[in-house]
Subunit: 545 residues, 2 copies
């Protein structure tokens, strides 16, 4: 029988191993795992810190014994692969308990070593904890049980999940982030909605602030200021565990991630790689790493398929990701406006603020949704959604539309399940399609960050909301003409350049259609007052501080 060796026994590795067994009952399959556990729920770790997931055991989904019984897998924990010899097709393996080593020959090798938390080179970094596995989690829980004040460095997914869970345990928590926003896979005005929630929940958020040292009882940030902390967690990114691959001469990208083809094959035809250590082809844009469990599982299975002789090609990665914290959900797929503008791409952007279900049915809450579209082709390039309910559904639907190659305008045609407690007759996703269709047909819109320059250039800003709404907060320089009175003023605006705005963009659209037919050059402020406020708040010195 053939021998298959798998390095890394969690998301990607164990998915490859079980699938391989189902495809080949007679092969010898050996899984090497440096840590104490295989098949554990990385994604659940932060929630045991906060006690949301009560049982530690619940995080360990499989044991070597169970995997042996069911799949005749030879699973070796506390066992490290220390070298690969591609010519000999063998792996050098060290039993970490005894220190003994042996070599194992393979017919095919799968690497799923993952990525390790980065430790930034600052004084006292060794005082900082990280979170990747159960041992790390145990250390954080132990520290948290005596700590009062925590600092989390890094406002990415894991950092924020940890911040929430430490807060949940009753600690005072400060999050320190180098970037001017939380959650890099979101644009600043969308991330700002999450930041607001974090602050409302009593977590101190310090953006545009670097951690410069960890000292006893406090950390030092950017300008020398100190923040008291008896627990410091570093969650500032990861680096691929590709040392073995590098030493074996496998092709890596410039950031050190392992390069594979669409069947997960590395530059060595007998070695496959999957998961966080691998660079992925992207739906739109350059190849890049994507650290997500779904892809690790999927690609693990694809590697097994290829090894067993029934290859399926991976599709380019969208990078769909989600976080729920302090009662709000933020989900994202594809590219951000920031990235695409940096690349000079010609895009259209839509912001909406629909209710998650019919407003007349109890419990409806407001979503903020963003859609990013390739201007020439109307292809969907990305989307983001933030809200208390239903953000996950809308991003999943849009991710599926992207996978199916639907254009933004075609979102209008989707038939999504509607009854008043679940959605609206025009689902928020349909509504994005309507707005996209109007833009594709030539309707002009203006982004929140473009407004000031256009006003300076002489465009009039007309607020078509009601007097009451205007009184409660208006954009500087705007003139109030409520929509239902706009017809009376339309002739007087003929020939002018006018930006109309309402609260969310919907009345602005009706206003724009109206004025245009009176010979006004008109644009609608995309997302209305709500998006403008969110953008301004998130980029003001106060928001960013």
């Amino acid at each position: 029988p053939r021998t298959f060796v798998i390095i890394g026994g969690v998301a990607g590795g164990m998915s490859a191993a079980t699938r391989l067994r189902r495809l080949d009952e007679h092969a010898r399959i050996i899984v090497l795992e440096r840590g104490e556990h295989v098949s554990f729920a990385n994604c659940g770790l932060p929630y045991h810190v906060g006690g949301v997931i009560e049982s530690r055991d619940a995080l360990v989904l499989q044991t070597p014994q169970a995997l042996a019984a069911r799949f005749t897998l030879d699973v070796r924990v506390r066992t490290e692969a220390v070298a690969i010899d591609p010519t000999e097709r063998s792996v050098r393996v060290r039993d970490l308990a005894s220190g003994t080593e042996e070599s194992i020959r393979y017919d095919a090798l799968v690497l799923s070593p993952g990525a390790a938390p980065v430790r930034i080179p600052i004084p006292g970094v060794e005082r900082g904890l990280v979170l990747r596995d159960l041992a790390d989690m145990d250390a954080i829980i132990a520290a948290a049980s005596t700590a009062r004040r925590a600092v989390v460095a890094g406002a990415g997914f894991i950092g924020l999940e940890l911040a929430e869970n430490l807060r949940h345990r009753g600690l005072e928590v400060t999050v320190v982030e180098m970037l001017p926003q939380v959650l890099r896979p979101f644009d600043v005005e969308m991330a700002g909605l999450v930041a607001e929630r974090i602050r409302d929940a009593g977590v101190e958020l310090r953006l545009s602030t670097g951690l410069t040292a960890i000292e006893d009882g406090h950390v030092v940030v950017g300008d020398g200021e100190t923040i008291p902390a008896d627990l410091v967690v570093l969650s500032v990114g990861v680096r691929p565990e590709s040392g073995l691959a590098r030493d074996a001469g496998l092709e890596l990208d410039e950031r050190g991630y392992i390069v594979v083809d669409e069947h997960q094959r590395t530059s060595d035809p007998h070695i496959y790689a999957v998961g966080d250590a691998v660079v992925k082809q992207r739906f739109d844009g350059p190849a890049s790493p994507v650290w997500l469990a779904g892809l690790a599982n999927r690609h693990g299975r694809l590697a097994a398929d290829a090894i067993a002789g029934t290859p399926h090609a991976a599709v380019p990665a969208l990078g769909t990701a989600i976080i729920g914290l302090f009662g709000v959900t933020a989900a994202t797929v594809g590219r951000t406006e920031r990235e695409l503008r940096d690349e000079g791409r010609d895009i259209r952007v839509i912001h909406t603020h629909p209710m998650d279900h019919a407003g007349y049915y109890p419990g409806a809450t407001q979503l903020a949704i963003k859609l990013i579209i390739d201007a020439a082709s109307d292809r969907i390039l990305g989307a983001q959604a933030v809200g208390e309910s239903g953000a996950d559904k809308r991003i999943d639907v849009i991710a599926t539309a992207m996978a199916g190659g639907l254009t933004a305008s075609q979102l209008a045609d989707l038939e999504l399940a509607y009854a008043p407690q679940f959605a609206s007759a025009k689902d928020p996703v349909n509504m994005l399609g309507y707005v996209a269709d109007n833009l594709a047909a030539g309707e002009r819109s203006v982004q929140w960050h473009e407004l000031e320059a256009l006003q300076a250039d002489g465009w009039l800003l007309v607020d078509v909301r009601t007097e009451g709404e205007n009184a409660a907060g208006a954009i500087p320089g705007s003139r109030l003409i409520p929509l239902d009175e706009l017809r009376e003023h339309a002739e007087s605006l003929r020939g002018e350049r006018v930006i109309v705005h309402c609260k969310v963009g919907q009345r602005g659209h009706t206003a724009a259609r109206l004025l245009e037919q009176y010979g006004v050059t008109v644009a609608n402020l995309d997302g209305g007052y709500l998006t403008w406020s969110a953008g301004v708040a998130a980029t003001s010195p106060k928001g960013a501080a």
Copy 2:
């Protein structure tokens, strides 16, 4: 300016009117509505009966006054279109208050008259109430306020929503349904899960039972039995309000629904029609009516686009629909197994029972999902989902995949938003794709309704669950060999024909892969014990009674 007349001022009609105004500021747009209200939330009506939606006003989304102010629409309520003269291009209109009539010439006419509840020809039918508009709702509420016992005839969406809401008000409720199941757009074993909930909630459900008379204080059903009732609601289907269209010589289908092309144009080039009165092209299968608000809204807009000279084609309808009642959600899209088997189509069917989110995160509940696939092409033909949480999301994703032309196996590649509180690393939809991929690759599965015949034909049934699970309930004629002991018995089964089963199909899959490699002819019982039990319960005389 041109004159556009619209008959019917609710979902389809008013969507056409507002869009037309946005496209043509200067047209004369007249909306005729026979009833008291326009733009009301039909879909919310049942929930005001139960007091879930407290305010009656919340159900009226627009008024003629507001529509005049914003859209300069000439909206006439209590005004009926009584005849169309296609040659003259005029509509004869009656003011229902005064009885006066006038003729209005049109450049284009939009029909969105909807469909009216059917009144079955039985003695006492005039004692039965129906639910279509606010007046109907008021009548039901008035009757319910003094009634103790209600009978609802018809276990479709509206009938069941009403049953729930009457129960919610404290009435004793019996639902009487001619078919042997509730909710015709579902297959019987899926509908059975909803039926169970309805019964658990204390509603009496009488399937395969026709209403034969309504008498004072009771109704009479099929066999002459009487059921006490001081409130009777008929919700047994609708008929299209196509009398006007018929009289005008427009083409109707054999059931009386108005025939339109993909731009919603009837057989008269100046007359458009949308909504419940129209027969729709379907994604797969023959044209048919689809009584859904989303399509009425969408097609109303398309009619306006066509009239304004910027036509967009409608896409074939999927018929995505959903109901939530007594804490359970049931959603469906596309065709049912029942219909397709009746047509002799070669299909594959998958049932799964995944958790709506990671089992280790609190609050996970189990879904039942069904996927129906064209065997030759692997195209998705339909799906159904029932569960406490997340059914809407999965059906929306599958509906989107269908719209994008993804195959069933390609569901495995979807990148859906994953964090433990929202989904699993392999989302339930991905898992359907995995199962579909295995079936496409030749793995055999057996449906719950095929099992008995195969057993009779000599296939062995092997239960690969644990002893404990088997003891708690087993399929007649099965032999227990727990999965983890199956290898020891594999050789002894060589050459046999074996059906394996577990609880949901997942361990059965591993068992099937294993046995096949030992020369066993093997099939997996699709959906396992859970689907088999649901199917048997739903079709047993007791379940159907």
